[in-house]
Symmetry: C2
Subunit: 352 residues, 2 copies
Amino acid sequence: MTTIHIAASREYDVVIEPGLLTRLGTMAAELGLGRRAAVISDDAVFALYGAAAEKALTDAGFQVDHFLFPHGEQQKNLSTYGQVLNFLCDRRFTRSDFLVALGGGVVGDLAGFAAATYQRGVPYIQVPTTLLSMVDSSVGGKTAVDLEHGKNQAGCFYQPSLVLCDPSLLNTLPEREYRAGCAEIIKYAMLYSEDFLRELEETPVLEQFERVISVCVGMKRDVVRGDEFDKGQRALLNLGHTVGHAVESCSGFTLLHGEGVAIGMAIITRAAVEKGLCTPETLPRLLAALERYGLPTETDYPLTDILAAAEADKKRTDDVTKFIVPERVGHCRVEPVPADEVAGWLKAGGLR
Amino acid sequence: MTTIHIAASREYDVVIEPGLLTRLGTMAAELGLGRRAAVISDDAVFALYGAAAEKALTDAGFQVDHFLFPHGEQQKNLSTYGQVLNFLCDRRFTRSDFLVALGGGVVGDLAGFAAATYQRGVPYIQVPTTLLSMVDSSVGGKTAVDLEHGKNQAGCFYQPSLVLCDPSLLNTLPEREYRAGCAEIIKYAMLYSEDFLRELEETPVLEQFERVISVCVGMKRDVVRGDEFDKGQRALLNLGHTVGHAVESCSGFTLLHGEGVAIGMAIITRAAVEKGLCTPETLPRLLAALERYGLPTETDYPLTDILAAAEADKKRTDDVTKFIVPERVGHCRVEPVPADEVAGWLKAGGLR
């Protein structure tokens, strides 16, 4: 078992090992969490792993309830959030009880926001079931729901009490979700390590899940330790995200988050090379890695639509958009781009 | 001007002086807050003070928008909260901008929750316009909305950047709201100071607003410094609140919060005397103080209804209700009461 300790406003462990789901209950008991657990999940994930998660909890003596919602990014909204809160209130959950977020990024973000705000905060455990949520969204305490006109526009910083990563859950992960997760993994390599990119090129992620998850979580640990509340260096983790979110939004969320991030990274790297901020060899390296994992690197959505969607993005401060720009593989920086130059950047990135 | 510094996870000042509203803009500018302000208020308060608040902000160079909702506790719900968030998102507010909560407890709690969660947190200024919000709810960072079956069941701990108390705004406060505020003031005296109770008996609150607000905020400062996140001594501030919330809820929120607290304090003190936990002379002192300010000390709602409403209250942990119990004037303690003894307590308090 790999254990990575996260030193944030609440300290907690990320534990990684195939088969860990069966130990969910004993680990929750070791944390001294209260008697009642609410498993928050979506219909698709719960059908696969709900019974195992609940058995692990009841075997350890917990009383378990669950709240399910239909799967998909469309559900990550204030309405589902309100349903979770009312479910907790109607079942008389208290601050002594805890939540278990069983699912991918949508479940983790939404259940985390509910945990952050129900009775002003109850403990929660992240049990990520997708590659993307294991390597990224389940760690670091960013919780959120989407608003009508903006992704992740409402939320809190609120750390879990435990992140339990069981890579054996990835056996049922659809191919497309696997690839989407690889986009975030490639993002970590682009941000912090050329060696790691080489590993990803040489050995498929699916042959080294525990290792890859550990590397990414270790990188995220360092970022969260230095900048839990996203005032500085944590912004780098948004590499590919400003354009990525805009592309996802343009697609009506038929594109997966990881697919958006892949396209976003390709566009911003193309633009950075074009503007002389990034070494020319970086672009083919990135594109080859993305293509190796079957990820998209271009989009047909017109520049004007992407621009409109990007404008609602919260990384914008006043009239400046903060693009995360690769300088070379393993090294990126924040580039504040004035509003009237954003279109030029996106054009340089290949949008028309 | 009285300035009280609050040392919490975010440090800030509570400033108290008649006429301060005209200085809202310059004080916001001194804090280095961003260029855009969103004034969140209700229709009734905004009609009285909206123009003055907005003028103070625009005169200091801020760009100002406002979002208004109908006044009343019924509006403190997830639906209004969502409207505020969507307003901020649609108007493209960013983390560099700030909110101004202009109103009583409902506005402060709701706007504070929106500030806590919009883009995972934007700064906000509390401008309380009722006595109750000046002496209590605007200070300390408890934000909340009500759920379908429970008051204040969703929210965050999120401190403001400034609390601006202008007692001259109380000139338009309806008599009933004034009295409701006096209930929370009497609560502070019951908790911490017999001398203060004597002052309230001798000199009407309305003849010494700045002094009374300063005393209460000073007491709250000490509580928040020791227990910002409500894990221990801050619970004392709930004196009268468990029963008070239940009574409010039974009344369909036609009773004001302060009126509920007055009834709740009277009931719990009656019960505490009955059970030999409180000196007998405490009850007539409390009842006299409440009656002097025209506050109710009894309720006709039946015990069973109060019990059902109290069960949804979040101060409950597992099967124990934590009542705050006076031992004498100026001294209270937390009394954990097992579920099967709560009805007995309420009967001892005079409910039938």
